[in-house]
Symmetry: C3
Subunit: 351 residues, 3 copies
């Protein structure tokens, strides 16, 4: 055959260079730390999932345990959602969230019908979401909705008799991304589960809790673990990065909050750094710019971990990818398993 200097990457099997944090060790440790109890998950059956506020702490914990079980047994032995149909309605562009939901559903054995382009739908002809939801009752078994309008999920809820999952509603919430975040944090330090289980940690969030839906949902979840969180530091150059009542609600729940605009000063003191550069302004995205940026040269505590919901922009340098700070890839990996756990609970269909 034709000879050539064939690229070395083409001449051998893929794989082999994954980080340790993507292996089985972390989820196994988390499984060991939690006594399995599916009872709290029964309350999630056939319920809509719209807000992080709906979850009891014990539900979070058991969802994470179930996710860990799925993560450590990638070869499923049965397909409990065979014959069930997910309607994956992404009226706002997305690949990551859509694919992770669809992947989770497929791995449980179900079929998927996708709506990826609002212009291809009856909504382009002026159809109301109420009517769309009424239709979906008959055509599927569960709906995942992403929409730039934060009210859309509630409009559909009025008509739905099948469960819906909020896959991001405007600037309001993104509870399943926050589930993936919590799952990553608990895999990193299972001792957070127990009173005095570990030295209290300091968590930094770079961004604007007022307008970042993933952060909004995550802070609600973190409040459930306040006893082991020494401080939650918001890094922002806005004077008041919280929405009305948000700060009060979180402090009442026990979180010690602080706001600073000096990233480099606070960075060495943080155990977990959560960064996200996408926020909402009006009804569209805005990038937070590159005032706050993490690179391998940033003054991070050597043991600190970085989380990022991805997709990333310039705020998170790729030179961090090969460092032990990189937990954002593990976080992305866990997103599938934690969604499998949630969908299992919602349909009472466990592997």
């Amino acid at each position: 055959m034709v000879s050539s200097d064939l690229d070395a990457r083409l001449s051998e099997p893929v794989g082999g260079h994954s980080l340790d944090v993507q292996g089985f060790e972390q989820p196994r440790a988390l499984m060991s730390a939690i006594h399995e109890d599916l009872a709290p998950l029964l309350d999630l059956a056939h319920r809509p999932v719209v807000s992080a506020r709906q979850f009891e702490r014990e539900q979070l914990v058991q969802l994470c345990r179930l996710a860990a079980r799925y993560e450590t047994q990638p070869q499923m032995i049965n397909r409990p959602l065979t014959g069930k149909i997910m309607i994956s309605a992404f009226y706002e562009p997305s690949t990551r969230t859509r694919l992770s939901f669809e992947s989770a559903w497929h791995r449980l054995g179900g079929d998927v019908m996708s709506i990826t382009d609002p212009l291809s739908t009856g909504i382009a002809k002026g159809e109301s979401l109420f009517d769309v939801a009424e239709m979906m009752n008959h055509y599927g078994d569960l709906v995942v909705l992403r929409d730039a309008n934060d009210r859309s999920v509630y409009d559909m809820l009025d008509a739905l008799r099948i469960p819906i999952v909020n896959g991001g509603n405007g600037l309001d919430e993104h509870p399943t991304q926050a589930l993936a975040d919590i799952y990553a944090i608990l895999k990193w330090r299972p001792a957070l589960l127990y009173p005095d289980g570990c030295a209290p940690v300091r968590i930094g969030v770079i961004g604007v809790p007022e307008r970042m839906r993933t952060v909004r949902s995550l802070l609600i979840f973190l409040a459930g673990f306040a006893e082991n969180i020494r401080e939650l530091v918001v890094v922002s150059d806005e004077d008041e990065p919280f929405s009305e009542g948000q700060r009060e609600e979180l402090e009442k729940a026990g979180l010690a909050l602080r706001v600073t605009d000096d990233l480099d000063a606070v960075l060495p003191t943080l155990d977990v750094v959560y960064i996200n550069a996408i926020a909402w302004r009006g009804d569209d995205y805005e990038s937070m710019g590159t005032r706050y940026r993490l690179t391998a040269a940033s003054p991070l505590d050597p043991k600190a971990i970085i989380l990022h919901p991805l997709a990333r922009g310039k705020e998170l340098d790729r030179d961090l990818d090969d460092t032990s700070h990189n937990w954002y890839f593990a976080q992305a990996r866990g997103a599938v398993f934690v969604r499998m756990a949630l969908l299992s609970a919602m349909l009472k269909s466990y592997v």
Copy 2:
């Protein structure tokens, strides 16, 4: 966790407020009224379905019986289309019809490949539908086509060796929507099946039979039940709302037709009111405006039922949703089961 005034809809399972007409009672009554006989359906095997004219009355009746059987046994016990692939080609925007076909196919166990955006296809490079169809012969087991050009389905037919279903071709026909309509009507009054089975009914159609494809197909089907239809009243402000030869064809088949522009005068006399505000003008949609509108205040006979193929605009007020006139949601629900029945017959694969 964080406390809040959690929306009551989030704290309990979904479901529970469906109308009676969406339960099992109506399809069970229809099943009882029809002696099962799959023989007429054998002629549908491996045949294209393009026009309502292709169906014999007994085929319609047996398809509706099979749909009723599927509707009353939502938990399928086998998946006869396992390994079969539907190509769902919607070159004209749609959600409702596409999802109902895909849902029907999935529930029978098959896989689906969707084309939702003409711009993503080779047709954007100038490929002919003849060549597309030749390709589909090898890649799938059945094609569903929606296209704004009424000739497209015939162009593909020249090359296809697998069955095709017309999912709406321009202003011409939409036979499977009409199947869903007939299924709803027969569930409402099974006695229409028999000579002198009931007092003859008066059916009103608000719209323009010339340019509404769902109406065009439905009228052809209704002609098969002319003996129990006292009168078919078309409500329109056009002098001649029929296309050339359409009126003659229907009258020859036995339908007593009347045209009026006075909705309120005729409304109290109607047993069934079919309304649709979307018609074709040239190669695009037009809304029929709001001259004719149904609301809870309309002078409907108390026992009259309303049908609408959906999606709706202002012509059908949501205040009718919770009344007993609302059969349009049941009609939408039935659309999946009647398509399952049709697809079963076309592939000779019954559950």
Copy 3:
């Protein structure tokens, strides 16, 4: 029911008019000509497939044999890819290639997640392909990528730990289309497999090898059968239709190359005529115009076969479809089976 002059095509089952070359005879003859040996395919397991250069001749031969086996047993008896997910990422418009990959995967029992619109993805928000690939590691088991940028597949390769198949990268390569081409050629004349197996053939390629990715990949494959190819004639009105080093590489591998701009003069001497009118100019398509055109009136050798990767434009007249020159439909049909064979090998999952 309503009477009408029902189109004759609607009143009988589809099918029945396929060409002989689409039957079982050709693949059965190819199977007989090759001794089955899956060993060469083991090297394809879990490897990326980006370039035609990666394939050893014996791998090509065994892939074609496996494809022939699949083609002759359309009813699969098991579904080895059950639970496996293909991510079908077509950032450049395509129907044919996308559907043939998805069909192949479904027929092996797997599930598919499609990306058909770049604007619906995180890439529209500026996400890098490296990050997209990292995500895909966790959400799927294999990626098919088509992208107008020839570097994209390599960018993803840096992050991928699951196999990727190049479904067309800019003007560079399209190796699986070339597999379908070779499969068609070997079905036509299995004797090409053996030294002095047949009189050497003359193959004509109408087009520009520099800028036609399907041709670029095919020529590399054909070099593996140079001993039975008397001459490879490129028909082009460009003085130098090869890219830098391309001609030298092919000649070194044994192909006897000639360039001519006179189609009619060379046509009577050709055994195989490969035509394609789509080439790349900059980062978009260009049509090669209609200077070179094949019709039933072209001076073809009576036994010559025509191949075309489709979709076609005016360069290939439909009046050839019903002649014995038409092997392009068989070529399109084989594309599914040869992709099934490749995917089987890559995932070590044979039917």
